[in-house]
Each structure stands twice: as structure tokens, then as C-alpha cells.
Symmetry: C3
Subunit: 159 residues, 3 copies
């Protein structure tokens, strides 16, 4: 049992793995924040999708008018979906990358650029900034994940 | 090679990791179940989105009328998306949390509350239960993931 | 520190884990490819959703007409969402499965069938192929993930 605990301890003591854990938690929390932003817009814009969510506004027609879409709500939802499409591959591929034994400085470079790009992407989407701001930040994050995947495949390749 | 196999065996023999593996598999299977529920509603309500899915109902207009949205189908799809938004961060952060060396009892408490909250959330969404049932179960799961992320960041912090 | 590095090296040297890393990276890259396919259809069909994305087409009404949905764009988006719903559970459960000590040949069988099924699913969705082509490839991938989850739960079970 002592040995088992040690094996786990070794993993979390590995500096590249610690860096990955830190950045993975940060970008996943950022993604979770989109739920709160969507909820904020739903409540302030009074734009809901489930009838049971508008019951507190009264019965019948008076509540029904709040079952509608709102541009700000939809924008936050698109930002959330874009996070799912990009942050989830980062976490999956990043974990394998962290276990592939990269240099700490190279790994940190990947993680830092990705996190910065995705945080900028959220601002660019929500404000919104004129293009190509959002497009470029998306492409930067995408490229970082691609670069990590390349190393994973080069190191682990077993088809 | 024997040593390598041992390192893997050590991980799966670690009790916190075993508990994580059990609950992660359970909530991911629960999320996958949403596909079957959506398919069930699509077939029983005859509400499809792809023209090739309605080809067996005949050709032309007779099949075209089944290309429509249905409230039950849309509700199941929203439940599925909500699972993606919440269960995926739980699995990612929970893995790092399990490797951060928490007490078994504390870890089990986190995993059990999260799984119970998300199973309740699905029932609350599909029946549907009046609010704040669904909202509260969402908030409980969200808080559990947040609590695990806090420990991951405190243990692993390397920016 | 040398020991820590070794523990990580042991994981990536494990053949089942290497096979998992290879296939997980492949299917995650395939999922990421859906972003490029959606972007391709958005640009060639001139069908956008964010006003700031059409600014380069001019101002006012001349740009506004490109804020519309297009069947090919929506089809690519549905394929992307289906990937999220199916590839993400594969990666999560597959990681735990790879750590549960399966035979290399059995593990490779699971990974290969899943990857082939999901690549076929994308072709079936985008062309589109007549049903039940897409439905069957979905069911094959789903069953593989289910089979891996069964082994994870049997090996790790700690509730």
C-alpha cells in the first residue's frame, strides 16, 4: 500500500504534470464559468427555454413571453460550446503530452499560450471584438493542441 | 517491463483512484444514456433532423413532415448538453484530484454527492420537476467540481 | 526526482497505455477536424451566425443577408456535437480501461474498432450515406465504450 501511494505521489510531484494539472484546472474552470455567464444573461434578459423556469413570473401568457431566445444568451452559449470543442481536446491530449516526458519549459510554453488564447477568445466572443480577434485566438489554441498531439503520436505511436 | 506493469497496477490499486474510476465510469455512462433517451423520443415522437433518417417513412412530402422539432426531443438534448458541460469538467478535474492524494473518505464524499446530484438533475430535467429542483442539483454538482479544483490548484500549483 | 521521472516514463512505456495514447490522439484530432469542416462550409456557403464575422462583406443589409443557417453547416455542426457526445466518453473511460491492465490484443481490438467506427460515422454523416450506415457506426462505437466501461467497473469497483 505504501508503494501504491508513492506511485501516485510521484505523478503529482512531477513538475510537468503539476504544470498540466494547474493549467487544465484553470481552463476547465474558465469553461465552467460560461454556465454562470449564460445564467446571468438568461435572468437579466428574461430569456428562458424551459417552461418550468418561468413559473415564478406568473401563470399562462404572462410567463410564456419569457420563453424566447436572446442574442446575448445565444452568444454566451456559442462561447460555451466553442470551449467544449477546444478545451476538452486540450485536456485529453495535454494529459498524454504531460506523460510523454517533454521539457518543463516547452510544456509550460504550450500550456501558457493555450490558456491565454482561450481567455482572450472568451473576451473576444462576449464583447465582441471585431474579427479576426476571435478567429486568431481560436487558431492559436488549436495549434497548441495540435503541436502537443504531434509529440504524443511521435512518442507513443502503437497502432 | 515488469516494473512498468507494476506502476500501472499501483495506480489502479490505489483506493482513491479506484473510487474515482468507479464514479467517473458511472457518470459517463449516465451521460451516454442521454443518446438513447433522445433516440427514443425521436422515434416515438417521429421528429428527426436529417432527411436520410426519415427515408423509411416513404418519399417526398410524406417523409418530409417528420423533419421537425419536438419538445421532448429538445428537452433530452438540452439535458445531454448540460451533462457535457458539467460531467466533462468533473472527470477532468476529478482525475487530477484523485492524483492529488486526498483522504479516501473526503474523495468518496465528493464523488458520491456529484453522482447523486447529476442523476437527480436528469430526472428533474426530463419529468420535469418544478424549479428550483433542477437548478439546485446543478449547483450542487458544480460546487463539488469547484471544491475538487481548489484542492488540485492548492496541491499542484505551478504556473 | 529521478524516481518521479521514472514513474511517468513507466506509464508511457506501457504498451496498452501507448496504444491508448495513439488512438485517443487520433480520435480527438478527428473531432477537432470538424471545426475546420464547419468553418469551410461557413465560408463557402457564406452562412454565419455572428454579426462581426460578416463585417468584411460590407455594412448594413449587404452583410446581414449572410447571417443565416445553411444545411451543410448545420450538418457539420451536428457531426461535431455527436463526436463530443461519443469521443469524450471514449477518452475518459478508455484512459481508466488502459490503467485496468487489459491484454494488449484485447485493448487494441477495442481502440481500433472504435476509431474505425467513428471515422466511418463522419463520412456517413457528411456525404450523407443512407441509413442505417450512420446509425450502425454510432452503435458500434457506443458498444466499444460500453464494453470498456464494464471492465473498468469490474476491476475498480469501489462505491
Amino acid at each position: 500500500r505504501a508503494e501504491m501511494a508513492k506511485a501516485v505521489a510521484q505523478l503529482i510531484d512531477n513538475e510537468v504534470f503539476r504544470a498540466f494539472a494547474t493549467y487544465a484546472a484553470i481552463v476547465l474552470l474558465k469553461m465552467m464559468l460560461m454556465s454562470l455567464i449564460t445564467a446571468y444573461f438568461r435572468i437579466t434578459r428574461k430569456a428562458f427555454v424551459n417552461p418550468e423556469d418561468t413559473a415564478s413570473f406568473g401563470k399562462g401568457e404572462s410567463a410564456k413571453k419569457y420563453l424566447r431566445t436572446d442574442p446575448d444568451v445565444e452568444r454566451a452559449r456559442r462561447g460555451h460550446l466553442n470551449d467544449l470543442e477546444n478545451i476538452v481536446p486540450f485536456v485529453g491530449i495535454g494529459l498524454l503530452y504531460a506523460l510523454s516526458g517533454p521539457e518543463l519549459s516547452t510544456a509550460l510554453l504550450h500550456f501558457r499560450i493555450f490558456a491565454a488564447a482561450r481567455i482572450f477568445h472568451t473576451f473576444a466572443y462576449l464583447m465582441p471584438l471585431p474579427q479576426p480577434g476571435r478567429g486568431l485566438s481560436w487558431a492559436v489554441g488549436y495549434s497548441v493542441t495540435f503541436s502537443m498531439a504531434y509529440r504524443v503520436l511521435k512518442t507513443a505511436w502503437l497502432l
